[in-house]
Symmetry: C2
Subunit: 117 residues, 2 copies
């Protein structure tokens, strides 16, 4: 290995706002905040982080990359995220194994079944 | 925190091939391979993994999410990745801080500067 996966970068209309939204969603902390990027990590030295940068391109279709979250209680977690501003999206993939949501900027992500179910 | 970031999912024309490409790129291992998905992780219990699933939608513009790799030697790492089949892409972001490449299915990613430079 000659490189490590340092971060996932997300283009955002409002990087600071979206970074804080994801920090709350994941229980992450903001570890770096500047005019050009805001980075969140689980802990300061835990990789990969998620970096939010300015991007103004209109969203075109479903993202090819998306995050999957593993909840301890899916129903409660989906409710919590929707209360935070996520919305349900139907991209023909909703099933018993996951619930598809979108963050406040429309980025799709999945809430998986809790382990053991 | 009521959910963990379990994985990053990537839509791929050829999930198995792209999974093995990224496993080689990152020094990851295939931890799960089925007809519907192939998952790679740094080690079996290290999250997040990267999951490759079938997806046939044509790529529309630059991905809104992309990976950033931190190399020990950027020049050597870029050469290694290009030898593996990555290609340079110009999305107006090439700078001294990172080199933009695309994987064999066109997903953009960045090779950052090595630490200390």
């Amino acid at each position: 290995m000659t490189a490590v996966w340092e971060s996932l970068t997300v283009d955002a209309r409002d990087p600071g706002r979206l970074a804080r939204w994801w920090a709350e969603a994941l229980g992450y902390q903001v570890v770096n905040e500047g005019p050009d990027e805001v980075e969140i990590r689980q802990t300061a030295d835990r990789l990969p982080g998620i970096v939010f940068v300015p991007g103004t391109a209109a969203k075109a279709g479903k993202n090819r990359l998306h995050l999957d979250l593993r909840p301890t209680d899916r129903e409660a977690e989906v409710e919590r995220l929707v209360d935070m501003g996520a919305r349900h999206v139907d991209i023909g993939q909703d099933g018993d194994d996951w619930t598809v949501l979108a963050d406040p900027e429309g980025n799709e992500f999945c809430v998986l079944r809790q382990r053991g179910n």
